[in-house]
């Protein structure tokens, strides 16, 4: 059976212990097939609820059903989606679009297994959560949820075949899993905990009394390997100092088992399983994404132009949708003149008669929060100084902006590629670490840099933030995106593509004597041109702030 199929059956076996799964898959037959497997594995009358990413709180958690309340003249509660999904499954398509606050509420409901009901008391909310991860580039599923879900599977990558291991009772699988988690750099204790639960479920699924080697290997593949932040140490030094371990009793009850593996052997085996899952390139990508994820997903709670929070800027008439906040006083005022009339129409009703048309909604405005993306030319001889100044500027901006909650990101380009060194973040601590050692020198892949900036800027802007891209370069492209292109033409092409996005950009020309190439590129990008031959950190920061 494939790991994905196993995962579906394991989730059905221990929904509360495992919490759920992050399933990386775009809509398509593979995903539908997997969801069908899950449906088949669950009991027949299991509720399956789809969670739209823009769900309003009242619908999620339950609340007063205003429409029904007004019609009835008595409060009517509506159950939230989470309560309706009790003992069932919540499926979140496009989970990367879930706002942080919605994610936080779901996490809390799952942690506690209940939520407060609208009119006192509590409603049970024990559900299996399936996050369908359709993210591209810099998007990410909310880490607060991903962290709590045991299984992380990717339906889009080819599933490698795993040799069937003979079931040999594992002596101390918890220790082995902890050691593997350690070797893979899984910091959160939830990693090994969920892995242990998965191993237990797997043993039960196979009808075994005790957890055995295949269960451990499966737990490593489904739970620990996807959370890895580093490659396990190479074979020679693979043993992570085994704690002294008494030799396990010689015979297990199963006839085919010869000897039980020692803890070391088991750990080694499990690490080997993990390594097989992780071709080096993939891991780098994963680590990068994991880092990117932290940063981008976090701020997400605050970026929406949420109708729920912010400064008050008046009222308007309108429907109570998407968590809009009712302005009660204005609503009652609007209803007041009609009371006599309405009472005559409905003499049996008492209280104030409010109709839908009376609803007044608070209009709230919120200052859009900003992200500044620095794109720094790290090529050639001037690289070192320029990079250091850019680093200084990033830190200065961050130090000043953490009160305003602004974010900063940094892309450096040199040689053949442009790399995202610092995903959008507000954190000075992270920024410092990411910037600690930046390499310099090599060619100038200008087109790749502008393209990387476009991608990141589009992603950030899609979240409702104001983006400013600051390009620091001397403007001489000498590496194109493909070998058969002329570098300067390719750069122009990328620049024009950037302009189409309509996003704000500043082009800082750092060459000693500004040259026409810079000006041309800036114009193509639609960027404001600033010549700062000797840009120092403070001037840079001031320029960005002033723009």
């Amino acid at each position: 059976m494939s790991d994905a199929a196993l995962a579906a059956r394991l989730l059905a076996l221990d929904p509360v212990g495992l919490g759920g799964a992050v399933v990386r898959a775009r809509p398509g037959p593979a995903r539908d097939a997997w969801l069908q497997m899950l449906r088949d594995a669950m009991p027949d009358d299991t509720p399956f609820k789809r969670l739209p990413s823009g769900i309003a709180d009242e619908r999620l958690l339950g609340g007063l059903d205003l429409g029904a309340t007004l019609a009835m003249g008595a409060p009517v509660a509506s159950a939230g989606l989470l309560a309706e999904a009790d003992n069932g499954v919540v499926i979140a398509p496009m989970a990367e679009r879930l706002p942080a606050e919605t994610a936080a509420r779901i996490a809390l409901a799952q942690d506690r297994g209940e939520i407060a009901a609208p009119f006192g008391g509590a409603r049970s909310t024990r559900f299996l959560l399936i996050l369908l991860d359709e993210s591209v580039e810099y998007e990410q599923v909310p880490p607060v949820l991903a962290e709590r879900l045991a299984i992380h599977i990717d339906l889009e990558s080819g599933q490698p075949d795993h040799p069937e291991l003979p079931p040999i009772a594992a002596p101390d699988y918890v220790e082995a899993l902890c050691a593997v988690a350690d070797a893979l750099g899984v910091a959160s204790i939830r990693g090994p905990l969920l892995a242990a639960k998965l191993a237990q479920a797997s043993a039960r699924l196979a009808g075994r009394q005790a957890v055995a080697e295949p269960d451990v290997a499966l737990a490593v593949r489904l739970v620990l390997a996807p959370r890895a932040t580093r490659l396990p140490p190479a074979e020679a030094e693979a043993q992570p100092e085994p704690p002294p371990q008494e030799t396990p009793p010689a015979e297990a009850d199963s006839g085919e088992s010869k000897t039980e593996p020692t803890l070391d052997e088991l750990t080694e085996l499990a690490i080997a399983a993990a390594r097989a899952m992780l071709p080096p390139g993939i891991l780098e990508l994963q680590a990068g994404r994991a880092r990117g994820r932290e940063a981008a997903g976090k701020g997400a709670g605050m970026l929406r132009n949420s109708p729920r929070s912010g400064r008050r800027a008046g009222v308007r008439q309108g429907p109570l949708r998407n968590g809009a906040r009712l302005d009660l006083v204005e609503t009652l005022k609007a209803a007041a003149p009609w009371q006599m009339l309405r009472r005559r129409e409905a003499p049996e009703r008492t209280g104030i008669l409010v109709r839908r048309d009376d609803f007044r909604i608070k209009r709230l405005v919120k200052r859009a929060q900003s992200t500044t993306i620095f794109v720094v030319d790290a090529s050639g001889s001037a690289a070192l100084a320029r990079l250091n100044e850019a680093k200084g500027a990033v830190e200065l901006l961050l130090a000043e902006s953490y009160v305003r909650r602004d974010e900063v990101a940094l892309i450096a380009f040199r040689g053949e590629t442009a790399d995202l060194l610092l995903p959008p973040t507000r954190s000075l601590a992270r920024a410092k670490r990411a910037l600690a050692d930046l390499p310099g020198g090599g060619g100038t892949p200008m087109a790749a840099a502008i393209e990387a900036a476009s991608l990141l800027a589009t992603g950030v802007a899609a979240k409702g933030r104001t983006v400013t891209t600051v390009l620091l370069t001397d403007g001489r492209a000498n590496i194109a995106r493909a070998p058969d292109l002329i570098p300067s033409d390719d750069a122009d092409c990328a620049a024009r593509a950037f302009r189409l996005l309509g996003l704000k950009a500043i082009f800082i020309d750092t060459s000693p004597r500004p040259r026409p190439e810079g000006a041309r590129l800036a114009a193509a990008m639609g960027a404001r041109l600033v010549a700062l031959p000797r840009a120092d950190a403070a001037t840079l920061a001031a320029t960005v702030k002033a723009t």
Binding site: A104, R105, E294, G310, V403
Partner: protein
């Protein structure tokens, strides 16, 4: 019956446990800020402590834990019964990320207003947290206007509501517990300073400890009742320790020499404001009480100094040295060996 993970079953995390106990002994210390990554057991520890504390006496029938001995009376028109006070578990309120101001402060009771046209206040989370804990997970992601509001209430112990034609005030004294990951955004210094103590938690480094954490958690999840029963005696002992320390804390002497040393320490590390010294004094007194001592010693002071001061140091954004080593250095220089 829901079970909470027992406080005494938490493996390691000594500093966090110590700080929570100290905050529980003296509410005036002003809460604990817990820094750390996800999955380090922050929430578990805080929830465990709340469920372990002795129940409080409340006005019978009151929804909002009003204190019968305060004489303040209930500001909300609860159907208050006469007679013996109710005993109730210490309130523990989670402030969810993205909570609206209405939910936090309280607002007009929509249900009443619509059904009967009556203008009535529906108390918010601040009222619910009165005399208990207000826990804000990921406090560094809280929206600024809520942060300001919380600061104000935490400092004054009173929630003043002036909105939607309502005008009232009610007591809201709670122990603020925050948690957050500094990697995911900085906290404003003003907010940090309001927390009495701060601790940094990490996942246990020793493999054996991690194994033990996983094994205990697994046992708890399988059979919460039996697991909780196993630790009931140990939890009871912690409860007694807190209870005794609360009674004793007022009588504990703080020698002048210790006070002077506290001032010198604050000066040496550059902790802003008097709040540091005050917290240092209260925390070492609470610690002495927890340890069953009658007098505060320099050893107590040295033990609480990192948690009382590390978040108050004026910081230079470009300075790499952490706060904790700076305090350790100052202690080593100032304190007689």
């Amino acid at each position: 019956m829901r079970h909470t993970y027992p406080f005494s079953a938490i493996v390691g995390q000594e500093e966090m446990k110590q700080a929570l106990l100290i905050a529980a002994v003296d509410g005036r210390i002003g809460g604990v800020m817990v820094f750390g990554d996800r999955g380090t057991g922050k929430s578990t520890a805080v929830r465990a402590l709340a469920s372990l504390l002795p129940p409080i006496k409340v006005v019978p029938g009151c929804r909002f834990s009003c204190d019968p001995e305060s004489g303040e009376g209930c500001p909300f028109d609860c159907p208050v019964a006469k007679g013996r006070p109710d005993l109730r578990a210490v309130p523990f309120v989670d402030l969810p990320l993205g909570a609206t101001e209405d939910r936090v402060v309280g607002a007009l009771d929509l249900e009443r207003a619509l059904a009967t046209g009556e203008k009535r206040f529906e108390p918010g989370l601040l009222a619910r947290a009165h005399r208990g804990f207000l826990y804000i997970d990921e406090v560094n992601l809280l929206e600024d206007h809520l942060v300001d509001l919380l600061l104000d209430v935490a400092a004054s112990g009173e929630n003043v509501v002036e909105r939607e034609g309502l005008s009232l005030r009610h007591p809201a004294r709670f122990i603020l517990i925050g948690s957050g990951n500094p990697e995911e955004g900085e906290l404003r210094p003003q907010l940090l300073d309001r927390f009495g103590l701060s601790v940094e938690v990490r996942t246990p480094e020793k493999l054996a400890d991690r194994v033990e954490v996983v094994k205990r958690r697994d046992r708890f999840d399988r059979d919460p009742a039996a697991f909780t029963a196993d630790y009931a005696a140990a939890d009871e002992a912690v409860l007694k320790r807190i209870d005794k320390a609360r009674k004793r804390a007022g009588d504990i002497a703080v020698p002048d020499a210790v006070l002077e040393l506290a001032s010198r320490l604050c000066q040496a590390v550059g902790a802003d404001g008097l709040r540091g010294e005050l917290t240092l004094m209260r925390a070492s007194r609470a610690l002495a009480a927890l340890n069953g001592k009658k007098t505060v010693t320099t050893a107590h002071l040295a033990e609480v100094a990192p948690m009382a001061l590390r978040h108050r140091l004026r910081r230079n954004p470009l300075d790499e040295t952490g706060s904790t080593p700076r305090i350790a250095r100052a202690i080593a220089e100032l304190f007689p060996a």
